[in-house]
Amino acid sequence: MKELFPMKQVNGFIFSLLLTVIALSVYFLDMSFSVAMTILLVTAFIQAGVQLILFMHAGESEDKSSIYTTTFYAISIALFTVFGSLLAMIWGYMF
């Protein structure tokens, strides 16, 4: 019976509910804009990771390594592009 029970998925489900509650707290609690944005961003990325790994079965097929490689490649390019553009256009811009 224990083998049949999808413990991982149930835990994942509870965890993602928890993440949602934390994200929702931003609306109800009084906090500064930057703290709120940080909470939202962090919970959003963890949430995406939980969905991808647990519920979209990223790590369960033969293509496991290529799925993770492309995901990391994509994420690193996205981060580079976004933060690089912010650096070029706002933070590091002199005029």
Partner: protein, 649 residues
């Protein structure tokens, strides 16, 4: 009448009217010729509707060669205009249009399709597949590229050419400063062919990851296939940025939005930022397959296996990642602070390291090898020192503080031609000569090929090295003329002379195709170069089904193993082969897309709506279409194989 006024040429000149007449006459001649020789059926059945990766590859290469001559004519016009001081052959506006067209045509419609054409032909053969993963999609890719290119090419006779540079920076490209429809042409031609390229990227990643012959692990793929895989990964990540940036530009110009304006919260420099987020990876999209081609050729003609296979693969992986981290070096002088510039300066210089590793790999492959100086090998050997010079000047430009001196001068122009011509153009010409017997079953004449090589190499040096000097002396790029007092005259004349030699070289290459078609012996066998990788294990020219039997592979040099180490590639009986059906829909979709683009450029909304309905109708048709492909029977395979003198099994 008012309706037709919009099609009038924005900046007419006798040259443009002459080309208008020439285009008209050539089109009529082609139609009459095809009708006279009764070739319409052949054209439609064998080429326009084909989904065969080999034929699509050949069509890509033919289009690329045509575009090479289009872009080359632009180059000669520019060199002629600047050959002497105060020249009045072209005026400022016309010169702007010519350098813009030259840049776009050479990058998007010459270099890219040439590379993709070779990829189309060679990659499925190198991995032992019968076709790409999605043959129909491949045909759509080609026709979107082709009609995108045609759309771009009619711009100068209908409505006016784009004139804001191939980089198309805003606010220069906005309606205010570029009032003609030229930039609309730029937006839509690149959009349409860019979508085609994106599909190619997805198609080839799927092909290389999923359709390799049994035994071919990732680290046992030939180097050109590795290079193609990484190139297509870059395509998939870089091209969406261009798609969106072009769309934003279109909205700005045609619907009055404010993405790239300097008021109402718009940010004109955002275009430069987005353009180069795509544009720098684009540079590596061109050069990585070139590296792959050189690797194949150098190893074949040195009769040695590639030195440091793993380090070559890893350096290409690093390049493909780094290529996304350096784009800001294209606008060091746009107003960032020193800290920001330093970051991108360091990443830029860092990318020279994996590139340098590859240079040593090629040198060490040739070390103690039995070098044969064939035409492809000559191009590859000339590439190494010339590309290194281009790389070194690239590092110079990559130093942000020094870039304030070099930027926007002819020094920059010399640098990027120095990497693109010996890097990409030499590579595609080498690959073209090397794989020619694979495509057509006979060799290109070596003697004419060597003449062309020397004309091209010497012409290249004479055309571009003087620009380093005039650039350092302060000659700005994109200036249509200069005064005699600047002293730029003699060196620019030398450049023009060099460009003339290059033109002769390209004419010789075309003559070589004609000469070899007439005179070359047809019995060259299946292995005219004593080659190493899997694509040479089948016949020349390649039969429709590529390999009669799926090969079983043990290393990246499967064919060499078969010849020298007694490894059996084909150890199975003939089986029925399942092939994809041909289809006219991709061609029709290409036509519809070009009508869509053309109507959008001139804001003829009825044409936009009708062609969009047509495009969706094609997609719906495809969704509900029942095609199961066709089978080639064992008897037919046997007959074909016997015609080639029997399979070596």
């Amino acid at each position: 009448m008012e309706f037709f006024e919009r099609f009038a040429i924005y900046h007419p000149s006798p040259l443009i009217y002459a080309s208008m007449v020439a285009i008209g006459l050539v089109s009529i001649a082609i139609v009459v010729g095809i009708t006279y020789f009764k070739k319409w059926g052949y054209l439609w059945n064998e080429w326009l509707t084909t989904v065969d990766h080999k034929k699509i590859g050949i069509m890509y290469i033919i289009s690329a060669l045509l575009m090479l001559f289009r872009g080359g004519a632009d180059a000669i016009m520019m060199r002629l205009q600047t050959a002497v001081p105060d020249n009045s052959f072209l005026d400022a506006q016309h010169y702007n249009e010519v350098f813009t067209t030259h840049g776009v045509v050479m990058i998007m419609f010459m270099a890219m399709p040439f590379i993709i054409g070779l990829m189309n032909f060679i990659v499925p053969l190198q991995i032992g597949a019968r076709d790409v993963a999605f043959p129909r999609l491949n045909a759509i890719s080609f026709w979107l590229f082709f009609f995108g290119a045609m759309l771009f090419n009619v711009s100068f006779v209908i409505g006016g050419s784009p004139d804001a540079g191939w980089t198309n920076y805003y606010p220069l490209a906005s309606n205010e400063f570029s009032p003609s429809v030229g930039v609309n042409y730029y937006n839509w031609a690149l959009q349409i062919s860019g979508i085609g390229t994106l599909m190619t990227g997805i198609n080839f990643i799927a092909t290389i990851l999923k359709m390799r012959a049994p035994g071919m692990k990732l680290m046992k793929m030939p180097m050109f296939t590795w290079a193609s895989l990484l190139t297509n990964v870059i395509i998939v990540f870089a091209f969406p940025v261009l798609t969106i940036a072009l769309l934003m530009g279109t909205f700005d110009r045609q619907f009055g939005t404010n993405f790239f304006t300097s008021m109402n919260g718009g940010m004109d420099m955002m275009w430069a930022n987005l353009f180069w987020i795509w544009g720098h990876p684009e540079v590596y999209i061109l050069i990585l397959p070139a590296f792959g081609i050189y690797s194949e050729i150098i190893s074949t003609f040195s009769e040695r296996n590639l030195y440091g296979y793993k380090s070559m693969v890893w350096s290409m992986v690093l390049i493909s990642l780094f290529s996304f981290t350096v784009w800001l070096h294209h606008f060091f002088t746009m107003g960032q602070n020193a800290f920001t510039n330093s970051i991108f300066s360091i990443t830029t210089i860092a990318i020279a390291i994996p590139t340098g590793i590859k240079i040593f790999n090629w040198l060490l492959t040739m070390w103690k090898g039995k070098i044969r100086f064939t035409v492809p090998m000559l191009y590859s050997i000339a590439f190494i020192p010339l590309f290194t010079i281009g790389g070194a000047t690239g590092v110079m430009l990559g130093i942000a503080s020094a870039d304030y001196q070099y930027h926007n001068t002819m020094f920059l122009v010399a640098h990027f031609h120095n990497v693109i011509i010996p890097g990409v153009v030499f590579a595609v010409l080498a690959g073209f000569t090397y794989w020619w017997p694979k495509m057509f079953g006979f060799m290109l004449n070596e003697k004419i090929g060597k003449w062309a090589f020397w004309f091209l190499t010497i012409g290249f040096c004479l055309a571009f090295f003087p620009m380093y000097v005039t650039g350092l002396d302060g000659q700005a790029r994109r200036m249509y003329t200069y005064s005699e007092a600047t002293g730029f005259g003699p060196l620019n004349m030398l450049s023009f002379f060099g460009a003339g030699l290059m033109a002769i070289a390209f004419a010789l290459i075309v003559y070589n195709v004609y000469y070899s078609f007439r005179h070359s012996p047809r019995n060259v066998g299946d292995d005219p170069w004593n080659a190493r990788s899997l694509e040479w294990a089948t016949h020349n020219p390649v039969p429709e089904y590529n390999f009669a039997v799926t090969p079983e592979v043990k290393s990246s040099q499967a064919f060499w193993d078969q010849k020298k180490h007694g490894h059996k590639l084909f150890d199975k009986e003939y089986e029925e082969i399942h092939m994809p059906n041909k289809s006219g829909v991709p061609f029709i979709m290409g036509v519809l897309f070009s009508i869509f683009g053309f109507s959008f450029i001139f804001a003829i909304w009825i044409g936009v709506i009708l062609s969009a309905i047509g495009i969706f109708a094609c997609m719906i048709h495809r969704t509900f279409e029942q095609v199961h492909g066709f089978h080639i029977s064992v008897k037919e395979i046997k007959e074909t194989e016997e015609k080639f003198g029997g399979a070596d099994k």
